[in-house]
Structure formats: structure tokens, C-alpha cells
């Protein structure tokens, strides 16, 4: 296993946010954590990347115990994260943001910079624009591109679809698949469970700080309980907007027009 999370507990003051999460990510996988607000998904990611301290339990990465390693050293160990809310440096240009991603590296990062521009052609167009002035989708691309600059072994993505239009969500998810295909392991936190389960190999369902289910992603897509709780399956009235998104995404995968752009990206990617 590349990343092993072993019974971790995390507290905000006296309140327990994580009450014993155990999960693992194997080399080359896409693993997703799904769950409602407050389930502990973001806290789990922040604990893995070192922004939160754990009260007990252990995190092992690449065979090493990194539970007490400070966050900035975990980058060099091979953990990259695109944080929740994107965390773009608003006053830096797109290129400066990307180069910050390579801050920890001592070697030349021009190859990764070219790769990031190739993966996200939009960023190349906006090279000299201030990060804070870009749209939500562009910022998300920048956050992912920036995390890749450090050549991480595992990429942690925190709600990459948050606040994005359905078509952009499609594009971001196909890029995640492409990144994984090029050899980066992905740990994905999502509220958009439908989308996440479609691209992931395995999934964990979190509820109030605990793992309540873990299974191959395909199985969870058909799981009646999961469907009812997270996919807007059985009772749709409290999730009125969900069918729209579902139909939009199925339309996107069925018709050529909306998915043309991500498909282009993928072809460009495989040619290199």
C-alpha cells in the first residue's frame, strides 16, 4: 500500500472530527471518500497532508510513518494536495502559482511546467493573469496543476467539483482520470458522489467521522443505501437539483459536443 491511514482520531478542541478512520490507497489507484457535510472528508485529507495534527492513530506513506512529519516535508515525501476552496495565491500570476508548486524542489521544474500547460491549455493562455481574477473552474485547474508541479506520488483532491458548472465538472473529472493514467495515485474527496464513484476504483463512505462502508466504486453505485443517501436515487425531493446534474452529466457523456474539450485534452496527453 502506498498510503495507509490507520485508525486516526482528530480533534478540533474537544470536539472529535474523526473518530477512527481507517483507509488505504494502493499505487496507481483512484480512491474516493464520499459523505455528507461534516462527515470528516476534508479533515481526513488535511490530516494526511499535515495541516491537522492527529490525536491518535497513524499515517504511513511509502512504508514510512509520517504521522508526526510537518506538512511541508510531506510534499517532498510525495504527497501533493489541491486544497478545499482551491487555495490559489490570488496576487501571484498563474505562472508564479505553478512555480510555487515546485517550491520544495531543488531541481529544474520546467518540464513539469510545460506538462501543466499541456494538461490545462487554458492556464497557458492565462499565464500572466493574477490567480485571484480567474474563474472558479480555472482556479481549480490551477490548483491541480500546481499540486502536480511537485511530482507527487499521491495527489489529494478536495472537492474539485465544488461550485463549478456541470460541464466544467465533467472536464475536471476527465482530467483527473488522465492524471491517474499517467501514473499519479489519486485520493479524491467529493460531495458529488455520482461523479466520483464513476471514475474511482474504490470508495469509502464517511459518516460523522467514521467509515461506514468501503467497497469497489462500481458496487457502491448500485448499492441501494448509498443511492438513497448520496446519489439522490430513491427519494429525490430533498435533493431537487440532483436529477438535473445527473441528466446533465449523462447527456455530457452521451453526446459529443460538451465532452469535446476534455476528450481533446486526453488525446493530446496520450501523444506525449
Amino acid at each position: 500500500m502506498l498510503l495507509e491511514i490507520e485508525d486516526i482520531h482528530v480533534h478540533y478542541g474537544k470536539i472529535a472530527a474523526l473518530k477512527g478512520i481507517t483507509a488505504s490507497v494502493d499505487d496507481g489507484e483512484i480512491v474516493t471518500l464520499i459523505g455528507a457535510n461534516g462527515a470528516g472528508k476534508t479533515t481526513t485529507l488535511k490530516t494526511v497532508s499535515g495541516l491537522r495534527n492527529l490525536s491518535s492513530g497513524a499515517i504511513r506513506f511509502d512504508g514510512r510513518d509520517i504521522s508526526r512529519m510537518p506538512g511541508h516535508k510531506r510534499v517532498l515525501a510525495g504527497i501533493g494536495q489541491a486544497p478545499e476552496g482551491r487555495g490559489i495565491f490570488p496576487g501571484m500570476t498563474v505562472e508564479e502559482n505553478l512555480l510555487m508548486g515546485a517550491y520544495a524542489r531543488k531541481d529544474d521544474a520546467s518540464k513539469e511546467l510545460a506538462e501543466a500547460y499541456e494538461l490545462f491549455p487554458r492556464l497557458a493562455e492565462r499565464r500572466t493573469q493574477a490567480g485571484g481574477t480567474m474563474s472558479g473552474g480555472e482556479q481549480q485547474m490551477l490548483a491541480i496543476g500546481r499540486a502536480l508541479m511537485a511530482k507527487p506520488k499521491v495527489l489529494l483532491l478536495d472537492e474539485p467539483s465544488m461550485g463549478l458548472a456541470p460541464m466544467l465538472v465533467q472536464q475536471i473529472f476527465s482530467i483527473i482520470v488522465e492524471i491517474n493514467r499517467r501514473g499519479t495515485t489519486v485520493l479524491l474527496v467529493e460531495q458529488n458522489a455520482q461523479q466520483a464513484l464513476q471514475i474511482a476504483h474504490r470508495a469509502y463512505v464517511l459518516e460523522t467521522g467514521r467509515v461506514v462502508k468501503s467497497a469497489p466504486a462500481r458496487d457502491l453505485l448500485d448499492d441501494p443505501q448509498v443511492r438513497a443517501a448520496y446519489l439522490g436515487g430513491a427519494s429525490g425531493d430533498d435533493l431537487a437539483a440532483a436529477p438535473d446534474v445527473a441528466s446533465a452529466s449523462s447527456a455530457a457523456s452521451a453526446s459529443d459536443a460538451p465532452s469535446a474539450e476534455p476528450a481533446d485534452d486526453r488525446e493530446e496527453g496520450s501523444s506525449t
Partner: protein
């Protein structure tokens, strides 16, 4: 998307702000060849050297006021302190409300070692800078885990602690302070245009001004070099988003501590000159109002941009002195002027471009509490998009 999207919706204000834009000047400067830049630097230094002259003083100071004295005891000191505070507030984005503490540490180190141990000015200077930097580390090590408002409150407390300690310590004569601090030894009797710039004494304030000018120039070079280095990039990333900076592999704690130490060292050097020019210091010289005024100068001028910060501090030191004839109204007008400034140019008189972009985004430094909250642009499957952070 424009940079003033968070500004007010009033078109008239927007136009005023556009007209005050410094962008054409900035572009010209960015494109200027190195020779032109060096000429400008040279002219600025010559201007700085000529500043104490009487012809400038007759306009700058009201009649009967010693202009060189005002320059050295007020304006130049404030400018130097603002350069130091700018490292902490403007570059690393840490709100420090107790900056006067480091100024006091510098001044008291000078006072103690010169009067009790008869160290020379230059020896005391080196020691005072080291002590101030150490004070920065001592304050920073336990408190820099705090962010934003919390850090501001703790630094505010530290400023008070230093003052009270001096006030209650018999070793430094408590509230009476330290007297008889020696002037720096005169380096030479050399005279030019009626000034002996290297002869320090009670009668002429100009040599102190030149000494401070030297400190200011050295600090500018030092800070500018840092800004363009990896250290500067690390500070910028911490200022803009501390969590993201840590995720990029920036050892945020270490760099915040370095910012505190460097800012403190510059403040301490100002304290040394102040103590030796005044020859006596008391705890009353190190009130909170000094911290507040320096911070106001940094913000007013354009936090993060050195020329702006220096301009802001100089104006803040100069305006109340210049308009003394307004008597009691002058502080009222001064306060109103600050309020008007912040309405029309919240980013400061002369901000850096990067800073403007940060402020437009609403997350820029100075105690921002972390990443922005993304605004959902559509009704996604999660109807209530609150942040997990809130629990």
C-alpha cells in the same frame, strides 16, 4: 474580471480611483533600462542628502521649528521603523500591533550597555540589533502558531509587557528612564557646505539624519534582496494563503519567525539611534501609539510596497508637525484624512500590483484567516454547501 470588484458600486469613486492609478508609471519603470534606474536611485539618494537644507525646510516645517531635528527624530525614524514593520505586515502578512517593543529593546540595550558598561555606540548597535532579533524570536516562537486577530492581540500584549517591564524595573530607573546616554563618537571633523556630517553632538541634528539615512538605505537594499529571493516568495505565499503555502512545501513557521526577527532587528536599530540622539529615554517614549502610527503608515502607504510604505510613514510623521498652527483641530483633521484615504484608496497610496490583486480577492494577508470560501455557482447535488471547517 476587474481588480476592484469588491470596491463600492459608486461609479464616481471608481473613476477617481482609476485616475489615481500608478500603472503607467509602473510599466515605464519595469521597462526602464538598468542605467536609468541607477540614475534614479542616485538622484533619490542625493535628494535624501539635500533634504535637511534650509530652503526645503522653510516649506516643510512651520516657522520656528528645527527642520533637521524634525527630520531625524520624527520622519527618518518613522520611515526606518516602517521599513522594518513592512517586513512583518506587508511581506509576511502577520499583523503586529506591538512593534514598538522591538524599538524599545534596541533603545534600552543601547542605554544600558553605553551607560553601565561603557560600550561604544557601534558595539552597542551590533548588540542591540542582535537582542532585538532575539526578542522577535522569543515573541514569535510561542505565538506564531496563532493567526490573524489572535496574533495581533498577543503582539499587542507583548508591546505592553516590554514597556511595563521597563517602567517597573529599578535596573533601568523605572519611570524616570535612563539618562546620560552618550552620543556616538565623532568619526571626523570633516566639513561640507557648512555641515559636519560625521560629528555627532547635541547642537546639530543633521549628522543623525545622515546616520538614519544610511540605515534606511542599507535596510532597503537588504529587504529588496530578500523580497526577490526564495525567502520573499515564501513570505508572499504565507501572506496570501498560509495553508496552501505549507502544502507547497514552504516551512511556514520558520519563515514567519524569520520575518519577525528581521523586522525586529530593523526596529531595534532605529531605537539605538533614537536613544543616542535623545541621550535619555523613558518608558513613555514607547507607548502603543507608536506601534499604531507606524502600522498606519505602512497601511496608508501601501502595505508590501517599499516606496509606498516609506511615503506613508513620512507623511504620518510630517503632517501633524507641519500643521501645528491648527492647534487642537489638527489631530481631528488628521484622523479624518486617514478615514477619507481608506475610503478612496483602501489599498494605500502606492500599493504593489500583487497587493491590489490580493485585496480584490478579499483574502490578502494582514490577518486573513486562510483560504477563500468558494461560492457555489450552481445548485449541485449537495444543496447546502457549508464548509466542514466550521465544526
Amino acid at each position: 474580471m476587474n481588480l476592484t470588484k469588491n470596491g463600492n458600486g459608486n461609479g464616481g469613486l471608481g473613476q477617481v480611483r482609476d485616475r489615481l492609478s500608478l500603472d503607467p508609471l509602473r510599466d515605464a519603470w519595469a521597462g526602464a533600462p538598468a542605467a536609468v534606474r541607477w540614475i534614479v536611485y542616485g538622484l533619490l539618494i542625493i535628494g535624501g542628502l539635500l533634504l535637511p537644507s534650509e530652503s526645503i525646510g522653510s516649506f516643510m516645517a512651520p516657522s520656528g521649528v528645527d527642520w533637521p531635528g524634525m527630520l531625524s527624530t520624527q520622519i527618518a525614524i518613522y520611515v526606518l521603523l516602517a521599513i522594518g514593520l513592512n517586513v512583518v505586515v506587508g511581506m509576511a502578512g502577520l499583523l503586529d500591533l506591538g512593534y514598538v517593543a522591538f524599538y524599545a529593546v534596541g533603545a534600552y540595550t543601547m542605554a544600558i550597555f553605553a551607560t553601565k558598561y561603557h560600550w561604544t555606540f557601534w558595539e552597542s548597535l551590533v548588540l542591540a540589533i542582535a537582542f532585538s532579533a532575539l526578542a522577535g524570536v522569543i515573541l514569535g516562537a510561542p505565538t506564531l502558531r496563532l493567526r490573524g486577530d489572535y496574533l495581533a492581540i498577543v503582539t499587542l500584549g507583548f508591546g505592553e509587557i516590554v514597556k511595563r517591564t521597563a517602567n517597573n524595573s529599578d535596573y533601568v530607573n523605572g519611570p524616570r528612564g535612563v539618562q546620560g546616554i552618550p552620543h556616538p563618537p565623532s568619526l571626523s571633523e570633516w566639513e561640507i557646505l557648512g555641515v559636519q556630517p560625521l560629528k555627532y553632538g547635541l547642537l546639530d541634528a543633521r549628522p543623525y539624519y545622515y546616520l538614519l539615512l544610511l540605515f534606511i538605505i542599507v535596510s532597503i537594499i537588504f529587504v529588496k534582496r530578500l523580497e526577490r529571493s526564495r525567502v520573499g516568495r515564501a513570505w508572499a505565499s504565507i501572506r496570501e494563503d498560509e495553508d496552501a503555502a505549507e502544502l507547497m512545501g514552504v516551512p511556514t513557521f520558520k519563515f514567519k519567525l524569520a520575518a519577525f526577527a528581521i523586522g525586529a532587528a530593523i526596529g531595534g536599530s532605529g531605537g539605538v539611534v533614537y536613544a543616542s540622539q535623545q541621550t535619555s529615554i523613558t518608558p513613555l517614549n514607547f507607548e502603543f501609539i507608536v506601534s499604531a502610527l507606524i502600522l498606519a503608515g505602512v497601511v496608508l502607504g501601501g502595505s508590501g510596497n517599499l516606496p509606498g510604505v516609506m511615503l506613508g510613514a513620512a507623511l504620518l510623521a510630517w503632517l501633524p508637525e507641519r500643521f501645528r498652527e491648527l492647534k487642537d483641530y489638527r489631530m481631528l483633521i488628521f484622523g479624518a484624512a486617514l478615514v477619507v484615504m481608506m475610503i478612496f484608496r483602501p489599498e494605500g497610496l502606492w500599493p504593489s500590483r500583487q497587493r491590489k490583486a490580493e485585496l480584490a480577492e478579499g483574502t490578502g494577508g494582514m490577518g486573513s484567516l486562510g483560504a477563500e470560501v468558494a461560492v457555489p455557482e450552481h445548485d449541485g447535488p449537495g444543496p447546502v454547501e457549508t464548509r466542514e471547517e466550521g465544526k
